[in-house]
Each structure stands twice: as C-alpha cells, then as structure tokens.
C-alpha cells in the first residue's frame, strides 16, 4: 500500500521535475554582463571583516571602496559608477563559500575583486561556480601559487607574488649578504610555509637545521622562548627566517627581547609577517624592529616621497574617514586602481570575458604603486613577479636594504632570481587612470 503510494508520488515528482526542467530550459542563458548597467558596475568581495584575521586584513575592502568612491566622484569608468558589495567571511571556508555564492546569485555582481585567503577562496571558487559562470576573480589576496593554475582557476588573476618567489629572493639575499652565517627558518605549517620552504630548496639554500614548522596558532610565548634559547647558543650572528603571520613575528621578537637576544640574530621576516604598524601595536619595541629585513613589492606606506602613497593617503583622508593609512590600506587602493584600469581596458561594452581578455592583453602595462613588474599575459595569471628587499627602522619605516633599491624578479618554478631594471609607470594624474 505504502509502496504503491510512494511510487505514485515518485512518478508525480518525476513529472514535476521534467516539467520544471522544460520550463527552465526556455529561460535564456545568463548574460555575461551581469551586474553592469548603463550607469553602474557592481563588484563584490568576500573577505574577513571580523575575527582575528579581520583585525589584520579588515581594512582592505574599505580601502578599495574608498578608491572606487574617489573614481566615482571623478566621473566613474566610462560613465559608470562602481559599487562594491562587501561580505564578511570571518576567514572561514564555509562562510566564504556561502558569501561568495550570495555575491553571485543574490547580489548579482559583475566580478569579484580582492578575495582573501587560500583555504577560504579555494572553496568559494568552486562552491560559487565562478569558473562555470565565467565570473572574473580579480586580484586575490593570497600568494598561494596554486591559484596561478589557469586550468583549475580559469577566471582568477593573482596580484601578490607567490610565497615561493619570496623565499627564492630571500635565499639570494642571504647568499649575497650573509655568507658563512648559520641560517634557521621558522615557518607556519601550511601551504604558506610549505611554499616558502620549497622556494628555499629550489634556490639551493640549505639551512643549518631542518626548518621548524609550527601549526597556525601554536607559537606561544613559551615555545618562542624555547626555540630562541636553543638558537642563542649558536656562534656568530645567525640569520633567522620567519615565514609566518605578523602576530607570530611579534611573539618571536618579544621572546628575543625577554631573552635579551634581539641583537644576537639577523631577523629576515616574510612580507606577510612584517607589517611594522602591527608589530608596534602588538607591543614589540621600536628598537627591536629596527634592523628587521623583509621583502615587499609595494612601496612602504610611510614613504611620503612616493607619489602613489601620497595620492592614496589623500584619498584615504577624504573617502575613508577615521581609518589610519597603512600597508593594508595601500594594498587595497592599489588593487582598486588596477581594477579601474582593467574595467577601462575592457571598453564600453563591458563583458566578463572582455574584462579577462583585457587584463591578459594589457595588464602588464597597468600603472600601479608596485615597484616590481606585473606579469599578466595570455599564459600567466601571476601579478607582481618579484620583490624588493627592505629594512625596517625604529620608526617602522621600510627603507631599501643596503641603502639602494634593488628589484628582484623570478618565477615560482626553477627560474633564477634576477636583478631587474624595471621602472614602474608614472602615476596617472591625480591617481585617476585614463588608459583604454
């Protein structure tokens, strides 16, 4: 009896499914200029605004929006004003997947810009079917080299150089400047640290001891002190490579202060873990950060002689009220400036496919604050492809290491680290792109 009933229902259900499938098939395919009208362009970002990651990276989306507001106030892009929908994913993959899906299905954005995080964005990319819907996924804030894989992420454009490149550049700096010194590495035990360790291996650098890998969130003050005490016994002035987030760099530097070992080591901190403002805010003494070597691809946010920095500070004051200008605000505005150029390069008839082709064709010529070249081409989705090496002073300013700006370029593979003569394009007047 029941079986009969449920069979009948199953038949009925199948009929309903079939009918709805037919109805759905009449609906035309989604136009590839979703989110664009004659007067507006809607962009979206899923990124951490709250939680521990939000504390560090939460300024990035607001900075992008501030730059877009500035462009809108100056006529927009081909008469269209840019709006940015910001959704908080708390740095959680589940939320990143749902928030990105919301951006596509509910907010109906034209493109994504500035998504942050490897674990989060790799899930969001598939869950929100970005590849299937051909949604441009611009200037993502992660250096995980896997995102440069065009087959897996056909619509993604990276902006950060990969962690692998950074490690290779660091290896060269050690080789050129610290020959004969013992070298050690403390790295976060995930794809970020693993990419870094792999980069050093590719560059042929051998550490004095196997790199110490620690899971995220486990570098306590006690552990840091233990690690530094052991290394403190090594003769000479060992080079300590720190490949982790800024809070871990702070924990290690504070441990060095406690053990009075700050002058015992040469600290070489990765770009992710060397934000001077954050280090100072986390209680590291100015005298301790004085001398820390790091790598960067953008100018220092405190370098008021840099025209891009000056312009962005001005925009920040006017359109991002109450927010202190720092490296994260600089990075956000820089990505927004690249976005505006990409939208301009795609022309008046804005389509998703057109936008991506425009970046492939012209992206490497876009003006940006970056001091290293952009690597976009028909075959490469890597953004900045190199680093310059900086040294922090007690004021938290990053100055060129050795007193002279040297730009290193390389790739994520076996390619050599080369010194580049690259000079970045002049900033468009008032920071408003006019490219086509």
């Amino acid at each position: 009896m029941i079986r009969n009933k449920s069979m009948k229902r199953a038949t009925l259900a199948s009929a309903i499914v079939a009918t709805s499938a037919m109805v759905l098939s009449i609906v035309p395919a989604q136009a590839n200029s979703t989110g664009v009208t004659a007067t507006s362009i809607k962009l979206g970002v899923s990124t951490p605004l709250t939680g521990s990651a939000g504390l560090v990276y939460g300024k990035v989306p607001g900075a992008m929006r501030a730059y877009f507001d500035y462009i809108n106030a100056n006529g927009g892009v081909n008469g269209r004003k840019i709006s940015l929908v910001i959704r908080d994913d708390k740095y959680l993959p589940t939320l990143a997947a749902t928030q990105t899906t919301n951006l596509i299905l509910k907010d109906k954005v034209f493109a994504l810009v500035g998504a942050l995080g490897t674990a989060t964005h790799s899930k969001a990319y598939t869950a929100a079917a970005l590849a299937k819907n051909n949604v441009p996924d611009l200037f993502i804030n992660t250096g995980f080299s896997g995102f440069a894989n065009k087959t897996k992420y056909p619509t993604t454009f990276m902006v950060l150089p990969t962690y692998n490149m950074e490690a290779k550049v660091m290896a060269k700096v050690i080789k050129d400047n610290f020959p004969g010194q013992a070298t050690f590495m403390l790295a976060q035990d995930d794809e970020f640290g693993a990419d870094g360790v792999a980069g050093f291996t590719t560059a042929g650098h051998k550490f004095t001891a196997t790199p110490t890998l620690y899971p995220q969130g486990t570098m306590t003050a006690a552990r840091a002190e233990g690690a530094l005490t052991a290394l403190g016994a090594v003769p000479g002035k060992p080079v300590l490579v720190l490949f982790g987030t800024t809070d871990v760099t702070a924990t290690l530097l504070k441990a060095a202060e406690k053990l009075e070992l700050t002058k015992k080591f040469t600290f070489l901190a990765g770009s992710v873990g060397a934000d001077a403002n954050t280090l100072l805010a986390l209680g590291v003494k100015p005298t301790t950060i004085d001398g820390v070597i790091s790598a960067s691809f953008l100018p220092d946010a405190k370098d008021l002689t840099d025209p891009y920095v000056k312009q962005f500070i001005d925009i920040n004051t006017r359109y991002n009220k109450g927010i202190t200008f720092d490296n994260y605000v600089l990075a956000g505005m820089n990505s927004a400036m690249l976005t505006v150029q990409a939208l301009r390069a795609a022309g008046k008839n804005l389509t998703r496919a057109g936008l991506m082709s425009a970046i492939e064709a012209k992206g490497s010529t876009f003006a940006s604050a970056g001091l290293v070249p952009l690597g976009y081409s028909a075959t490469s989705r890597v953004g900045y492809n190199g680093y310059w090496v900086s040294q922090l002073n007690a004021q938290g300013e990053g100055k060129p290491y050795g007193g002279k700006l040297v730009i290193y370029t390389t790739d994520s593979g076996a390619g050599a680290v080369e010194i580049s003569t690259f000079v970045r394009p002049t900033m468009p007047k008032n920071g408003i792109p006019t490219n086509s």
């Binding site: 029941i2 009933k5 449920s6 229902r9 009925l12 259900a13 309903i16 499914v17 079939a18 709805s20 499938a21 759905l24 098939s25 605004l49 709250t50 910001i86 908080d88 740095y91 959680l92 993959p93 589940t94 990143a96 997947a97 749902t98 899906t101 919301n102 299905l105 509910k106 490897t118 674990a119 989060t120 790799s122 899930k123 969001a124 598939t126 869950a127 079917a129 299937k132 995980f144 896997g146 035990d189 995930d190 794809e191 970020f192 693993a194 899971p215 995220q216 969130g217 486990t218």
Partner: protein
C-alpha cells in the same frame, strides 16, 4: 512524526515512514519552485538540521554534553573526502564512509567518554574540537590548509541539462538527512531509545533496572558521531572541499546553541534549528539594508539575534517549540 511511546509500534513506524516520504515529496516540489540561492541555503538547512540531530541525540537523549561535535564532523568530512578523492569511490560510498568512520571514531571516543561526565566530558570534547582539525595539517595526505576536494560531481545527465549543481546538492543533503533522521527517530522511539532517556534522567535507577549504563552511553556517542560525520561530509560537499578551518570551535557552539533553541529533548525542531543558523545572517542582512545601516552592523547583528533568540527560547520554551506544540494539543 508520531508521539513516542505508542503501543502499536509497527503502525507507528509505517505512519512515520509515510510522513517522511510525504515531507520528502514536499521538499522535491519546493525544490523546483525556488531559486538557486534558496536551494543552496536549503542544503545547508538540511545539513545543519542533521548536525543538530547529533547534538540532540547525545546531549538531550543520553545526557552527555559534548562541545566537540565540530571535530566529529571533521572526521566524517575527511573520511568522505579521502574515499572520493583518493580512493576514487562513488560519492554515495563516500558519504556512507563519512558516517561509518566518524561512528567508529566516536565509539573509541565514547569508551573514554563513558568514564567522564558533566564538565569533564565537556572539557575533553572541547579539547578535541580545538586540536583535531589542526592535527589535519600534520599529514600531507590531508592536504594541509588548502585541504582536499570533496566532489560529488554534477547531477546525472538524465535529470536534464538545466538540473543545477545547487539542486543536486539540495537533493543529496535533503535525502541523506531525511534517511538518517528517520533512522534516529525510529531508534529513539524503540525500547533501546527509551533506555537512553532512562539513563539520562536517573543513571542509578536505570542501572538498578538492569540497564548497562556504560554500554548505552558508548553506543549513544558512536551513533551521534556517525550522524555528525554524515553532516560533516554533507557540509564539505556544499563547499566543495574539506580543510581544517571549515570546522572551527564556533561551529560546535552554534550547533549547541541551535539545539537549545529547538529543544534539546526532542527532534521535532531540528529543521527549525537549521533554519535559524542559515536564516539569521540573511535576516540581519535584509534588516540592515532596509534601515540603511553599515557593513559593521551586518556583521554584528547575526550574533546579537542568535543570542536574543537563545535567551527567549530558554525563558519561554525551555523544551523547544516542538514541545510547546505538543502541550497545546
């Protein structure tokens, strides 16, 4: 769902099956009438409802307070992902493995947990929730922070080209949850299920009546883990891959909170619990956009709403809205 404790058990089970089939049919129709986003959200509702079921089963029915449900979900999620991604098994087998491996893991854990109760058990499971996902970073086969893919593939071609991925997710998660909840509801209304409640309410009296308390607690832990494992598998199916950060401690707390809102002592409200978890951010979102608030308000409001709901639930319907309905009858 029929009231527990009816004498004519065969009829009850049959009627219950009919109800579940009817409900499934309703979902099927509903699935054809809503948009992609609603289907995707519906999949999360089904998945969370299942996870809440595991909490209700463990805490409400067997009296063991676990804060480690997210870790058990992670075990199921990794087991399923490895079965599909590494072993190349069919997704259905993958989901079964999610439940099975998490169940076995729960069984082992239950053997330890049976000796603990109250805050000690809560503390142990809390430690598990914190440490287990991070441990995944230690084994390269688990894919570190990027994790491993959990791909059930597109819907079969016979459903037609326009049968979307989200609808496929909805069908899988709703069906898997319905089957599992049906199994649990039946279990709880059986003699075995009643002994759960006996142990919860008075373990000494239960033991004197000849019930093996320790064994029962262990089996409750194992079954609850199996349910949590399946929901973990479904959750990572929805986000297309598993990684440690998909199972934060906050997930355990959210599930427990939702279980309290829906009533810890019966399963009638689990869908409501799932709805609460999915709908609250949406409600906050539309509220903020209506009153023209800032992004900051959107981020703060969901937490506030859940807290308010939790307090209201504890004050007005301590046994859950399902229980309230029963009282009105």
């Amino acid at each position: 769902m029929k009231k527990a404790g009816k004498v004519h058990k065969p009829t009850t089970t049959r009627k219950r099956l009919l109800l579940f089939v009817l409900f499934g049919w309703l979902l099927l129709i509903l699935g054809d009438r809503v948009g992609e986003l609603e289907l995707y959200q519906g999949s999360f509702v089904a998945t969370y409802a299942l996870a809440i079921t595991s909490v209700v089963l463990l805490t409400g029915y067997s009296g063991q307070l676990s804060l480690g449900q997210s870790a058990l979900m992670a075990v199921g999620a990794y087991a399923g992902a490895l079965s599909i991604f590494n072993a190349g098994w069919h997704p259905v087998i993958g989901l079964i493995m999610s439940a099975l491996i998490a169940g076995v893991f729960g069984l082992i854990l239950g053997l330890v947990a049976a000796r603990l109760s109250g805050p000690y058990l809560a503390g142990t499971t809390l430690a598990l929730a914190i440490s287990l996902p991070t441990l995944a970073n230690q084994f390269p086969i688990l894919g570190a922070e990027e994790g491993i893919a959990f791909d059930v593939g597109p819907a079969p071609a016979r459903f037609g080209e326009d049968f979307s991925q989200y609808k496929w997710f909805f069908w899988i998660s709703a069906l898997a949850s319905l089957i599992m909840v049906f199994f649990i509801v039946n279990l709880l209304s059986s003699r075995y299920g009643r002994t759960f409640k006996a142990v919860r309410d008075n373990p000494v009296a239960a033991q004197l009546s000849g019930i093996n308390v320790e064994q029962l607690k262990v089996s409750a832990f194992a079954i609850s883990s199996g349910v949590a494992g399946l929901s973990g598998g479904l959750l990572v199916m929805l986000i297309s891959g598993v990684s440690p950060s998909a199972f934060p401690l906050s997930l355990s707390f959210s599930l427990l909170g939702a279980a309290v809102v829906t009533g810890l002592y019966n399963l009638k409200g689990v869908i409501l619990g799932g709805l609460v978890l999915v709908a609250i951010p949406e409600i906050a979102d539309s509220l903020v956009s209506r009153i023209g608030g800032s992004d900051n308000l959107t981020t703060v409001l969901p937490g506030f709403l859940v807290s308010a709901l939790l307090i209201l639930a504890v004050v007005f319907t301590p046994n859950g809205p399902g229980h309230l309905l029963k009282k009105h009858h």
